[in-house]
Amino acid sequence: MSPLRRFLRTPEAVAGALLLAMLIAMALSASLLFPGDPQAIAGPALLPPFQDWSLPLGTDRLGRDVLAELFHGARTSLAVGLAAAAAALVVGAVVGTLAGFAGGLVDEVLMRITDAFQTVPSFLLALAFVSVVGPSLGVVVIAIALGTWTGPARVARAEVLSIRERDYVAGARVIGMHPLAIAFREVLPNALPPVLAMSSVIVAAAILTEAALSFLGLGDPNRVTWGGMIAEGRAVLRTAPFLSIVPGIALVLTVLGVYLAGEGIVETTAVRRGLS
């Protein structure tokens, strides 16, 4: 059975893929369906959901269209989540490969730095970084990546340690390849699968961290974020709890979709590798 068919036969994986597809559709169609500034006032303040069909999910404390904010928020969540995870995976893979392949002092220094990053709670680090540099989309991405690259680095290093003893690496040395070329052209690509298997967990964690940062008011102020919406709604939690609850549900579904689809991909490909 091909991995794709195996994937399609796992109900959890399909559910995850559908959730993700929906989210991506939301993010892509945000400016088509809701052109203009989602942070502009669209109607009376605190309109409850399902009252006015031009504003299906109602409005927030300032009269902004909740549905439009939700669509634009999907964009921020997804962009930050993917960018931060990609940065963390790249940095982690490079550091792990260098440490594992070079060994000795380089390994020792790089792993102590990794330890130091793992010792500081990653959320506190992100908080400090954003508050020192100032909130913008790029800074938030770097801040999240700062706390997440250590996991991939450790996994890559462990994988490289076993790969560097293989015959083809010895062969590459014999034909006089530059050690850096061996590390990044021969060893790194083969060490990638277990690192990539972590990507769904990392994307999910990045999305949650972005939400928490913007909940605390450290998101990009010029963009709609789900965390920011939840924080906005908090001021009227007693009278209009849906303002905080709706973006939270969107977050849960997004992260769940990433987990389920990711786990589905890892499992279907791992089974295939196990069989062959």
Binding site: T119, P121, F123, L218, G248
Partner: protein, 328 residues
């Protein structure tokens, strides 16, 4: 015993290097921050250029970066984290005042997530592939996807606003003059919601690890031997399978402590618990970078201590650990 001592010594030496890197990192971050302590002070009190000059000189801010790093390290060796501009008090005192609340929150949340998580994990892993196994593993995944701060808000809406069963926030009733057991009960009631919000997220992690660990152990020969001996299923599950799957969870306990500390930042600000996390948010809001970095350093020390404790506990639980390291 010597084996454990060697392990502790090795870890301590490693920790010193790690801590040094953290200190240098925080110092660099402090340098990168726009404005210095004098600017922050002048903003809050006012003063002219001469005053700024005088303060910079008095606080040693006109010296070279290397000298200041050395001064910073020297001060840290004396457990001096500097002065907080917002609180007008030594940072160390402010942190020590808030630390117990965070520790209380963390320990309770860890107990909840570890206890309930591993128990449910054993329940699910006892019959791999059964309905309850699938249900619990998907349910836990859903729980893992929930942002803690949002769960906190939902709990507030349900239990504090609608049902009015539990207080909406804080660590205890203000100005109630409660003492002794009354005060303990009061704090416990205040902690129920924040501990649930923080603990339930990590519960899923322990549940899934326990379940996955048990699935591994089920395949091992000694389980077959236990079956062949005719042991009851209950006994096999508890005494053989679960017991052997429990050890990796102990390691996770240490690794999760940093995450838990990070998570408590948001939970504390949702429930207005006056702890370290809320202090971090206050430091961000008032742009008190030295205070924020003091909190980061304190957390790093805390994480190192917790991991050391977990390592020692592990060495006692599993006699194989550290044997190789002691020889090396």
């Amino acid at each position: 015993m010597t084996r454990t001592l060697t392990l502790i010594r090795r870890r301590l030496v490693g920790s010193i290097f790690v801590l040094l890197i953290v200190v240098i990192g925080t110092f660099l971050l402090l340098e990168a921050a726009p404005g210095d302590a004098v600017d922050a002070y002048i903003v809050s009190t006012g003063g002219d250029a001469g005053m700024i000059e005088l303060l910079r000189h008095r606080w040693g801010l006109d010296q070279s970066e290397l000298t200041r790093l050395a001064n910073y390290l020297w001060a840290l060796l004396h457990l001096d984290l500097g002065q907080s501009v917002t609180f007008s008090r030594p940072i160390r005192d402010v942190i020590l005042e808030r630390l117990p609340n965070t520790l209380l929150l963390m320990v309770s949340a860890t107990a909840l997530s570890f206890g309930l998580g591993s128990a449910l994990g054993i329940y699910a892993g006892a019959r791999p592939g059964s309905f309850r196994d699938r249900f619990l593993s998907i349910g836990s995944l859903a729980l893992y996807a929930v942002p803690g701060f949002w769960l906190g808000l939902v709990l507030i809406v349900v239990f504090a606003v609608d049902l009015r069963w539990l207080p909406i926030g804080g660590i205890e009733t203000l100005a109630s003059d409660k003492t002794g057991l009354d005060r303990v009960a009061d704090i416990a009631v205040h902690l129920i919601l924040p501990v649930s919000a923080l603990g339930f997220i990590y519960l899923a992690l322990y549940l899934r690890m326990m379940r996955a660990g048990m699935a591994e152990v089920w395949r091992q020969d000694f389980v077959l031997a236990a079956r062949a001996k005719g042991l009851s299923r209950r006994r096999i599950v508890l005494a053989h399978v679960a017991r052997n799957a429990l050890l990796p969870l102990v390691t996770m306990l240490g690794l999760q402590s940093a995450q838990m500390l990070g998570g408590s930042v948001v939970i504390e600000s949702v429930f207005s618990v006056p702890g370290l996390g809320r202090l971090a948010q206050e430091a961000v809001a008032s742009r008190d970078t030295p205070l924020l970095l003091g909190i980061i350093l304190t957390s790093a020390v805390l994480v190192i201590v917790i991991n050391l404790a977990v390592d020692i506990a592990y060495a006692f639980l599993d006699p194989r650990v550290g044997a190789g390291e002691a020889d090396a």
